[in-house]
């Protein structure tokens, strides 16, 4: 395996406990950050590292932190977004299950950098079994003075609370998450104002993904510059990829960004090739909401370069011939997979998970699902294909939050690349 930064200790027995984690060099970055560095220095290292948000949007973390309203006299909050619910993405679950202390350490450092005294982990409702693991880790860290009052004898104090959601995908959207955390219905807020100014309880708030925050520890240990040397171009460092579908070795892999997609799919180190020796048909590279790409376009870009696992390379070609790295939920389809059925299945998910607040998403997701149901069940009309394209276009960009885009892209891209398959479904 290439350089592992997050998962390097994942196979050590008992790494979930404080003692084992500490014995293998855990919490050294927290000690280094809190004792030897100022909050501004910690933030500076994160900026230098070029770390980008691992939840899907890929927004530079350091830049996001710098937007936080520091002039306000209100308390500031850090919220860890552990509402990982995208079909195909299961990296945060793996990270929290096996390395809870890595996350706690990252939260401590990030809170220190941001001047936060209260931090929340908003965890997906279905991950109830992880709540115990995290709370146990918090308890252990507190007992050893890595959390709580006056951490390691410094003036910095931090409390972390775990808050389980009720199982709504939409609560992974940062403002819906904050609403839910406040005890309200999980409807995304209308922006502006952004959470950096008015977030949780109307106070300045930073919301980051689990993997992003867990990476802060290693960034402080090795230094921002050293981290930035990993990866390629603006896609620095390593990324957790959760691979699933018709492959020999599904699972969570840490890859250094810049790895060729072909190697990731076929190398025994990672996915181990397509199951049962079949041909590759298509890949959704970044979780269910990013555009699907057919085999030739996922392995090579439209210009003929080989496609790499970086934010830029996967996006090359825009929506015509590209996709996105997203959250790293890598879904592989072999030649037997039915794209129409798969697309219908995804729209079923988005229809169910739409919060219903704004018209294009509420009505559009349901409409697309009904039309795709018809096509899949032999009742499609030829005009339905263009209808789907039109509905997807009417949703995209016109909604309050990105769930509308997430619902529209899979449909639009499936028709763009596999129109023939839709036509065949309707003909026979």
């Amino acid at each position: 395996m290439g350089r592992a930064i997050l998962l390097d200790k994942v196979n050590i027995p008992g790494i979930q406990t404080f003692e084992v984690y500490r014995a293998h060099g855990g919490y050294t970055s927290a000690a280094k950050g809190l004792r030897e560095m100022t909050p501004a220095q910690v933030q500076q290292e994160v900026i230098k590292s070029g770390l980008r948000g691992r939840g899907g949007a890929g927004f530079p973390t350091g830049l996001k932190w710098s937007f936080l309203d520091r002039k306000s006299d209100k308390p500031r909050y850090l919220v860890c977004n552990a509402d990982e619910s995208e079909p195909g993405t299961f990296k945060d679950r793996y990270l929290m299950e096996h390395l809870p202390h890595l996350l706690i350490e990252g939260l401590t450092l990030s809170s220190y950098a941001l001047g936060v005294k209260t931090c929340y982990i908003y965890i997906r409702g279905e991950f109830r079994y992880l709540v115990g693991i995290l709370e146990n880790a918090i308890r252990e860290a507190k007992k050893n003075n890595y959390l709580g009052e006056k951490i390691l004898g410094t003036d910095f104090s931090l409390e972390i609370y775990v808050h389980p959601g009720a199982g709504a995908y939409i609560c992974g959207e940062e403002t819906a998450l904050l609403e839910s955390l406040e005890g309200k219905r999980g409807n995304p807020r209308i922006k502006p104002p952004f959470p950096a100014y008015k977030g949780l309880y109307n106070c300045p708030t930073v919301v980051n993904n689990v993997e992003t925050l867990a990476t802060v520890g290693p960034v402080i240990t090795m230094g921002g510059d050293a981290y930035a040397k990993l990866g390629m171009g603006k896609s620095t460092g390593t990324k957790l990829m959760s691979a699933c579908g018709n492959i020999n070795k599904p699972g969570v892999y840490e890859v250094e960004l810049g790895l060729p997609v072909e190697e990731f799919i076929y190398s025994d180190e990672y996915c181990g090739g397509i199951k049962n020796g079949r041909m590759l048909k298509a890949v959704i590279p970044g979780g269910s909401s990013v555009p699907i790409l057919p085999a030739d376009l996922i392995l090579n870009t439209a210009r003929g370069d080989s496609r790499l696992l970086t934010y830029e390379s996967l996006a090359e070609g825009g929506f015509e011939s590209g996709s996105m790295l997203g959250s790293g939920g890598f879904i592989v389809y072999d030649e037997d997979a039915c794209i129409v059925r798969n697309t219908w299945n995804l729209t079923r998910f988005y229809r169910h998970e739409s919060c219903g607040q704004c018209s294009p998403c509420r009505e559009g997701t349901g409409w697309m699902e009904k039309v795709l149901y018809r096509i899949e069940h032999g009742k499609g009309r030829m005009s339905d294909i263009d209808l789907l394209v039109r509905v997807a276009k009417n949703i995209e960009g016109n909604t309050i939050c990105p769930l509308g885009d997430a619902a529209a892209w899979p449909v639009a891209s499936a028709i763009r690349h596999f129109r023939k398959e839709f036509e065949e479904h309707i003909k026979c």
């Binding site: 229809r351 739409s354 919060c355 607040q357 018209s359 509420r362 960009g397 016109n398």
Partner: protein, 322 residues
């Protein structure tokens, strides 16, 4: 003061003004339609997306255009901002898309709907709707629920604008209804099937842009355009007592709040005024109410009446008011 240009018309507005409010100050055709925004209700807006506009210049400081269309009701004006509404083909297309979305599950029962003639969705469809529908799926249906003797809830017609929820939350002491479920199965309902019963609940009817909430004491009695809307007032301990009495001859068919040119009530009124005072002797009739010009209600020429007189709409005779 901030300078903003909407459809080539310049206006100076105060800081914090939204694009929609600025457009309303200009008035006329540049005002985007609004199905969920209600200036008298805090936190309303942003949901229906029918007020989408194109920001072609962000501000004087940062002239870059905003890549996506923005909801004009919830986007504050920046100094030097340039906005396109009627001029932008993209906006018109998106608005058509929004209207289509709002209509695919809205029943076409206007002929039996009490809201017909004063329905915002009717106006919007007239402006931006398509003549044909591409849906062959059956429309969404909800099981009917009874929310009490005064207000009729027809959930099938609801467009999920949240106005009634906000009205109940901000006008009454205890909100008894809210939004249940999610996505396209989401519905307005009372918690555990209770009746909505408080002094200001009737305002839910006035804020509803469609026929989802209608007045049970008026239900099926008349089409609104056969009635004469008259400004009326009475001494009321609970509200301002300034209402519109919808009359047929000397009979008051229903009472509503006074709505301005954007369809918003000027002052919320209490249930006693709305539901109980249907006798002409309860009211001082001030004169005919101006209803927005494009409304079908205006076509019955009630405005020709002189102050202090009532026209019998069928006989057309004027008789002095007692």
């Amino acid at each position: 003061m901030l300078k903003v240009i909407i459809d080539n018309i310049e206006i100076q507005v105060e800081e914090g003004t939204t694009i929609l409010q600025a457009a309303r100050m200009i008035g006329g055709k540049v005002v985007p339609p609004a199905m969920c925004y209600y200036s008298k209700l805090k936190d309303s807006g942003g949901k229906c997306r029918s007020c989408l506009v194109k920001v072609v210049k962000g501000s004087a400081k940062d002239p870059r255009p905003v890549p996506k269309l923005v909801a004009s009701c919830s986007t504050p004006v920046q100094d030097g901002m340039v906005v396109e509404n009627t001029l932008s083909a993209e906006v018109q297309e998106a608005r058509k898309g929004v209207v289509e979305m709002l209509l695919i599950n809205h029943p076409l029962d206007c002929p039996v709907c009490d809201q017909a003639g004063e329905c915002d969705l009717q106006d919007l469809s007239f402006g931006f709707g398509m003549e044909e529908t591409e849906t062959i799926e059956p429309r969404r249906e909800y099981p009917g629920i009874d929310i009490g003797p005064l207000i009729k809830l027809n959930m099938n017609r609801c467009i999920h604008c949240y106005r009634c929820v906000l009205a109940a939350e901000q006008l009454t002491k205890k909100r008894a209804h809210g939004m249940l479920y999610r996505g396209d199965t989401m519905e307005i309902s009372t918690f555990i099937q209770t009746a909505i019963d408080n002094d200001f609940s009737g305002n839910m009817i006035d804020v509803c842009p469609v026929g989802a909430l209608t007045d049970r004491t008026f239900r099926f009695r008349s089409r609104v355009w056969f009635l004469n809307p008259m400004d009326a007032r009475r001494e009321c301990g609970k509200c301002s007592g300034k209402v519109v009495a919808w009359m047929f001859g000397k009979e008051i068919y229903r009472i509503t709040g006074r709505k301005d040119q954007f369809g918003e009530v000027e002052e919320f009124i209490c249930n006693e005024c709305r539901f109980e005072k249907k006798d002409i002797n309860d009211w001082v009739i001030e004169g005919p109410r101006k209803i927005k010009r494009q409304s079908v209600i205006s076509s019955n020429h009630y405005e020709q009446m002189k102050k202090g007189s009532i026209i019998h709409p069928i006989e057309g005779t004027t008789e002095p008011q007692e």
